[in-house]
Symmetry: C2
Subunit: 225 residues, 2 copies
């Protein structure tokens, strides 16, 4: 009888779909194919799940027109993102995990920890505002500080900038960027942003130059100095 109030916890799959929609859609909407790609799942599976998310009141979905999160869906997604980022912080700072392995472990643990665990962990960590990749950690009440950085791909040549976020999931990319010192906090001078192919050239604090492809430059966020 209390089915409408029970609000039983969402499953790991549902949670990952919500996060995917949040990541992909931004303020707009996410297509079946984008989600299929992002989640490494067949398109048919996505269609089925979007139907269920709509039934559950977590997503708005019109067949053939993509999906976006409802207010409840957004809350659930941000709850997971908070957990994920706090867990990554713990893994790096206290268990000595390599930067490259944080994501995979957090991707599983985020579904297993309780709210109680999460808040105790936040306490233990001293309530960090950002995770090891520089990504902001949503507050317990679902508030997320608005982004104040811009993608390196949109920086202006000649400008001096500081890297604020290197938000990647693939270990290989992460390892490459870390080896080249392209990590949050690093100072860079933008040498060139080529309009043609989006390739960006930067010089770091030690005078070394780095050339980054368009996709990579788009996912490194910086602040102008």
């Amino acid at each position: 009888m209390s089915d409408l109030l029970a609000h039983k916890p969402i499953s790991a799959s549902v949670g990952d779909y919500l996060k995917a929609i949040w990541n992909v859609a931004g303020s707009g909407s996410a297509s079946t194919n984008e989600l299929s790609e992002h989640l490494s799942v067949a398109p048919g599976s996505v269609t089925r799940m979007l139907g269920r998310l709509r039934e559950m009141g977590l997503a708005d979905y019109e067949p053939y027109h993509g999906a976006s999160l409802t207010e409840r869906g957004r809350r659930e997604a941000l709850r997971l993102v908070r957990r994920h980022r706090l867990i990554e912080t713990f893994l790096l700072e206290h268990l000595g995990y390599p930067l490259t392995d944080l994501h995979e472990e957090a991707e599983r643990l985020e579904h297993a920890v309780s709210d109680g665990f999460t808040e105790r962990l936040a306490d233990f960590l001293g309530h960090p505002g950002r995770d090891p990749h520089g990504d902001p950690i949503p507050a317990a009440d679902g508030t997320l500080t608005p982004e104040d950085s811009l993608p390196l791909s949109e920086a202006e040549a000649g400008r001096r900038v500081r890297v604020s976020r290197v938000s990647h999931e693939e270990p290989a990319t992460l390892a490459y960027l870390a080896e080249n010192g392209l990590i949050p906090g690093r100072l860079l001078k933008v040498e060139e942003v080529r309009a043609l192919d989006g390739v960006v050239t930067v010089e770091d604090e030690y005078g070394t130059c780095h050339t980054l492809g368009g996709a990579l430059a788009r996912s490194i966020l910086v602040r102008n100095l």
Copy 2:
């Protein structure tokens, strides 16, 4: 083709069944009903799962004659027990969890952490030999130190003993025992062990007497001094 070598990770359910068999069977075998009870699952579900555990080579099972773990099954069970007890230790010592809430959280987390996490956590904790309830933590290689304590129910009247394990899962029981100071490390004098109903009376270090029912006395382990 490499199905025989792949050894894909076991599911949370399978893991919990293996732990249940390990707990219930000891060196003998576990019956369908005992497992059904222990796991709060219908008997029919247990029968189905025992068939699957046999297929997977994790349990020996003859219909109508109970189940016991194979060597592989025992290894998997102990791997989970190690994780569970390390996690409980972390939750209590570093996150300040109440003693009563450790088990529930660990019961979920044990299935989500990797071997890498587990060993890094063991390092972080300083390789503890026992968890907060006094239960021994299996080594990474699957070794478990043999029990050297005896149940309070089998202690001799007049003997002075030290509590070594208070291995309970129900929060209410745990809370009661903690309130009465019946925790690992505590010194007791055995006043009476009544053969009739197994009720045990003990006097603690402060002269206070405690009377414990048979079931409770059987699950508190002590060492003679």
